[in-house]
């Protein structure tokens, strides 16, 4: 019964998309740069590596033994399903055509994307590569959400949520900020995804955690991680992959990519250091989980700013990230009593928001020069208070839309297939109960 529902829905979506794939295709050609292509292929590989195996390891390392495979399954499925849907319609709706609200249907099923095609948003690399690069972003954003619902959400429900959320939240907000939508026209600065990726994923995660309610035994039983070493490995791969995430957002092999990587790496380092120092000071011991949490917080927070700031700004931003996200994952979380299993909100949601605001403060004209912005744009530090306001608007718009749609989606799924596994399944562990396999 339940399963049929799942499939029927999947089929409908696929069918719809395929039909419309017959629309006439456009093919724009232009000068493709081999060096930029060389770097962007590597960058794309790095960003995919962030999800598999990066995020899969990071999350799996934070759950109990009985849920390790189920956690990885969510990352794997995100890659498989988002990729197919991205090619089917996501890319076209987000990155082709300059509508204020949504893109076009010109590239349904990538129709008309030929050898020489390029996208006006990235004229120097093959369009197929640009499509893949942006695909990797959509993948990890959906996968990130799984951390909030770990240990209790139905696999089928997660897939349905991911599919709906991709088209209703990710695609539009990616278009608004990066695809020539109204937020980009408004001047919102988000280099690699403070709003589109991190705020979106973190907020959706929080909503999902609230709707799903806490894990059984939360606050009473010991729910500590089974094998933190997996999370450390995942962090390493995420960190390295972030070079492609932020550096690749320069869409070319140039100084801007290098500068973005410099501020990114320094933010990660400082975030790790600050979180470690805080734990050492407040709890007497610096934990490995604290270091990796700080690193990810720094990486998520610098993301929107990375292409617009100076390297040493990365140290400041990373430091603030460690401080604020530590507070969010401890004090704030305790006060609000929600069970965001792996702190997607506390780290990505808070970090993405913080970073988007800080971009409005640290943005440096000299760094943000580009074809669209010949003089670059400065932030508060360069006297431009207005930018901070614009950033705030970007956060408000993206956040509100994400929160509302995510909530409705979850409720719909809850009413139909149901969001949460039964109590016995949760006790036995999702590996066995949902996937019929387990670690020995």
């Amino acid at each position: 019964m339940r399963r049929t529902t799942v499939w029927s829905r999947l089929i409908i979506i696929a069918a719809f998309a395929f039909v419309s794939a017959i629309t006439p295709a456009l093919a724009q050609t232009s000068k493709i740069d081999a060096a930029d292509t060389a770097w962007m292929i590597s960058a794309t590989a790095l960003v995919l590596m962030m999800t598999i195996p990066g995020l899969a390891l990071f999350y799996a390392g934070l759950v109990r033994k009985k849920n390790i495979l189920a956690t990885m399954a969510q990352s794997l499925a995100s890659v498989a399903i988002v990729s197919i849907l991205w090619a089917a319609a996501g890319y076209s709706l987000a990155f082709t055509g300059g509508g204020a609200w949504l893109g076009s249907l010109d590239r349904l099923f990538l129709s008309g994307m030929g050898m020489d095609s390029t996208n006006t948003l990235a004229k120097n690399i093959p369009e197929s590569l640009f499509m893949l690069y942006e695909m990797a972003f959509a993948i990890i954003t959906v996968a990130l959400i799984s951390g909030s619902v770990a240990d209790r959400m139905k696999f089928s429900a997660f897939l349905l949520f991911g599919i709906g959320w991709l088209f209703l939240v990710y695609v539009p907000s990616a278009h608004w900020v990066w695809g020539g939508g109204f937020l980009s026209t408004m001047g919102v600065l988000d280099f690699a995804g403070g709003t589109v990726v991190h705020l979106n994923a973190g907020l959706a995660g929080l909503i999902a955690a609230l709707v799903l309610r806490p894990r059984r035994g939360y606050g009473m039983e010991n729910l500590s991680p089974h094998d933190l070493s997996m999370a450390v490995v995942g962090t390493g791969l995420l960190w390295v992959g972030w070079f492609g995430f932020n550096g690749g957002s320069a869409l070319g092999a140039n100084s801007r990519a290098a500068m973005a990587i410099a501020s990114t790496h320094l933010a990660a380092s400082t975030g790790a250091f600050v979180w470690m120092a805080l734990e050492w000071w407040k709890r007497g011991k610096p934990s490995v989980l604290g270091m990796i949490s700080g690193a990810i917080a720094g990486l998520g927070t610098i993301t929107p700013a990375s292409g617009y700031v100076l390297p040493w700004h990365g140290i400041v931003i990373g430091g603030l990230a460690g401080l604020v996200c530590f507070w969010a994952c401890t004090a704030l979380k305790e006060r609000l009593h929600y069970d965001d299993s792996l702190d997607v909100f506390g780290i990505h949601g808070i970090g993405g928001t913080l970073g988007t605001l800080l971009t409005g403060i640290f943005a440096t004209a000299a760094m943000s020069i580009s074809s669209e912005m010949p003089n670059g744009i400065g932030g508060v530090l360069e006297g431009n208070w207005n930018q901070l306001k614009i950033q705030a608007i970007g956060i408000a718009v993206t956040g509100t839309w994400c929160a509302v749609v995510s909530f409705v989606l979850l409720k719909l799924i809850d009413k139909s297939v149901g969001l949460r596994v039964g109590i016995d399944a949760e006790r036995m562990g999702l590996d066995i109960s949902l996937h019929g396999e387990a670690l020995q």
Partner: protein, 112 residues
């Protein structure tokens, strides 16, 4: 015969085994267990979450010996497993009615 069960601190295994072999006990069986008792555990933090760990890793040694040697074996274990600190563990003695060596079928004392 007696089954002597000893719950000890993990790092004491080597000492205990040596003490037993020294007195001619040729075999024993060890299991990893978790112990709860007066020895307090510690607290672990995972970001916001705080977990008190009450169960501590211990080793459970089981050795079956002829009744007349039980006393000595208990004493040997006690002295070799002793650190004097809380959590050193316990030794229990239970009567065994029958013992068999699978390989040979030898029974009771000959099976040990």
């Amino acid at each position: 015969m007696k089954l002597v069960i000893a719950v000890i601190k993990p790092f004491k295994l080597v000492d205990v085994r040596d003490a037993l072999t020294a007195m001619g006990v040729e075999g024993l069986t060890v299991a990893e267990v978790k112990g709860y008792g007066r020895q307090k555990g510690h607290t672990e933090f995972y970001r916001g979450a705080e977990y008190a760990v009450h169960f501590l890793p211990k080793l459970k040694i089981e050795v079956v010996v002829p009744s007349d040697r039980a006393e000595k074996v208990v004493e040997a274990i006690r002295t070799s497993a002793l650190t004097g600190q809380i959590g050193d563990g316990k030794i229990f003695v239970i009567g065994v009615e029958k013992a068999v060596r699978i390989r040979t079928g030898e029974a009771d004392d000959n099976a040990l």
